[in-house]
Symmetry: C2
Subunit: 189 residues, 2 copies
């Protein structure tokens, strides 16, 4: 039997992404977002939805770019903190003790200690009611070398990204690989 | 040290979602997608990106709705199979042995055996290059009762959704909760 929850923003999994930008005063700021995902392979693009009243929203529009820093499970506390307060009146980097690193290709900072960084150039915005979706063209992806597998690809189990569960509002992380995509299902062909 | 991967559709985590629709002949079809996420809280909306040449794309446009069936780890094989072949010339439900269940609020089928179902009414499309993003307003979420926590919320560890790692192209699942959101970071306030 299934229980019905009605019309709710509820699906598994959702990411825990830390969005980085510089504000009008040049201060490095970060906020946590779970409403996002890859939206196209070519050009490689990612969508992240923010409310229009967020401090980060106007900053990203003004600078034309943002970063996504993917926290590993060991930084769950800092990632959660980044979603609790506004950068209007706080220096969240200073409070967390984490390091703002200037991105290579866009005018935005990222969290140096986090294992996976996506640099995005803002390409369009989509109004979707309470949230505005920022579409970012991915200009670079950087991953900690100790989170790579034997083939040089990012290993999701080693990287241990935070995953957010809407509804229960819990953080989790990801376990070992259970199979290869585009392969596991071949037995049913 | 971080390794740079350039401009690639690569970020963690991405979901493994099985998109359900009826085609022009009324045949229940499913395809697997990893490019998607929640895009707004109000109206609760989800975005899923498909290539325009997919059999599902025209079907969803014609019917005005689709479902997302979230596979648990135990159905990794079937979820992968749904992404390997086209519904133009196959009956994927028959081949997998899984059951197409007519959705309650939209003209689309879902996978009865999967633990979490999202019913979506198509509200707009966004052209993003190789992919077109289908924005669906969430009209209902249904979850298996044995995947609920003590408060009646879906428990992500019990539900054990498949998670996809682009790049390495591996499937994983989600582990136990490691903390509560909007709480864990309060120590840094």
């Amino acid at each position: 039997m299934k229980k019905s929850f009605g019309s709710k923003p509820l699906v598994f999994p959702t990411p825990t992404w830390v969005i980085g930008c510089y504000d009008a005063q040049g201060k490095a700021n970060v906020m946590t977002a779970a409403w996002g995902g890859i939206v196209s392979s070519l050009p490689p693009s990612i969508g992240v939805s923010l409310r229009e009243n967020r401090h980060s929203y106007q900053s990203i529009l003004a600078k034309g770019g943002f970063t996504i820093s993917v926290p590993g499970a060991k930084h769950a506390r800092e990632a959660d903190y980044f979603g609790l307060v506004s950068g209007r009146d706080r220096d969240k980097f200073a409070a967390s003790g984490l390091t703002p690193q200037r991105a290579e290709f866009v005018d935005a900072p990222y969290v140096a200690e986090f294992p996976m960084i996506i640099e995005c150039r803002l390409s369009q915005t989509v109004e979707l009611g309470q949230h505005i979706q920022l579409i970012g063209e991915i200009v670079d992806v950087k991953v900690d070398e100790d989170a790579l597998d034997a083939d040089g690809n990012p290993d999701m189990a080693l990287l241990a990204p935070l995953v957010f569960a809407p509804g229960a509002r819990t953080y989790h992380t990801v376990g070992p690989a259970i199979g290869k995509a585009f392969s596991l299902g071949k037995g049913l062909l």
